[in-house]
């Protein structure tokens, strides 16, 4: 684990990392003419989307669109969470050409919990464990063929996941 304590300039840090990774002194991670292993890049992180406080705003910021309900999005979430700090959530979809999956927790301080990029060849499925502050609607969003589709479930939370 590399600890770059207190260095404010993220761009420089990333270049340093890529140099360490394999002598590739890149100036960003646009398109290289040859396949190169790129470490997880903080520049990919959609900071604004993670600041939004509503479903509409989160999806607008992340994807530039809104979602329509679809029964081809399957959201597996417990009815009553054992503990709001660790709620297992699994999303699958039978929609074609899925390029992204996002999970929104409407009653959380920030709506967007996680988003996944699904390249071609990767299944339209993701399972993770999330924190939920209190009883909430959870919205699973799938990006397919350039459009957004969603499924919603309510999860009851008695012991909140944000320390309460």
């Amino acid at each position: 684990m590399n600890e770059f304590g207190g260095v404010p300039d993220r761009g420089r840090r990333i270049i340093l990392k890529s140099a360490v990774a394999g002598g590739l002194v890149g100036l960003g991670f646009g398109s290289f003419p040859f396949p190169a292993f790129a470490n997880a890049d903080a520049k990919d992180w959609p900071a604004d989307a993670f600041k939004q406080k509503s479903e509409a705003d989160a999806l607008k910021t992340l994807y530039g669109k809104s979602a329509e309900a679809s029964d081809k999005v399957n959201l597996d979430a417990p009815e009553i969470a054992e503990n709001g700090a660790v709620v297992p959530i699994a999303i699958t979809s039978t929609l074609p050409n899925v390029t992204g999956i996002a999970i929104l927790v409407l009653e959380n301080p920030f709506t967007l919990a996680a988003a996944y990029k699904i390249p071609e060849g990767t299944q339209a499925a993701a399972a993770s464990r999330l924190k939920m502050a209190k009883t909430t609607k959870v919205v699973a969003v799938v990006e397919s063929g350039g459009k957004l589709y969603s499924a919603t479930k309510e999860v009851k939370v008695t012991v909140g996941g944000c320390g309460g």
């Binding site: 684990m1 770059f4 190169a36 790129a38 997880a40 700090a85 993701a126 464990r129």
Partner: protein, 103 residues
């Protein structure tokens, strides 16, 4: 120092199922410590999985992802013995990576 990343990648037919568990506090920034002071947010932002020079999955995580975060996904391709590279970076600029063998 031991890696923070645990990976189980199992190839079955033409599909590889990947499960990962990463050791990380994933502090949300909403919890107070014993002194009553807010513990600042400290969470992974991006997790990347690569196989055969190609990205097969990217996770973009916010503070609502649980501590010691878990992930499961599947991709087409990958056979026993292949390398699967996993890396993450967090909001403080820390990072870790691991190359695991697909079983």
């Amino acid at each position: 120092m031991a890696s923070t990343i645990r990976v189980r990648a199992i190839a079955s037919g033409d599909t590889t199922e990947v499960q990962s568990l990463i050791q990380h506090p994933m502090d949300s920034g909403f919890v107070k410590d014993a002194k009553g002071e807010v513990i600042p947010p400290h969470h992974i932002e991006v997790v990347q999985f690569e196989h055969g020079g190609k990205t097969v999955f990217t996770a973009l995580w916010g503070p609502a992802v649980s501590k010691d975060p878990y992930l499961k996904f599947s991709f087409k391709g990958g056979k026993k013995g292949d390398d699967l590279k996993v890396s993450w970076v967090d909001n403080k600029g820390a990072s870790d990576s691991l190359t695991a063998k697909i079983q």
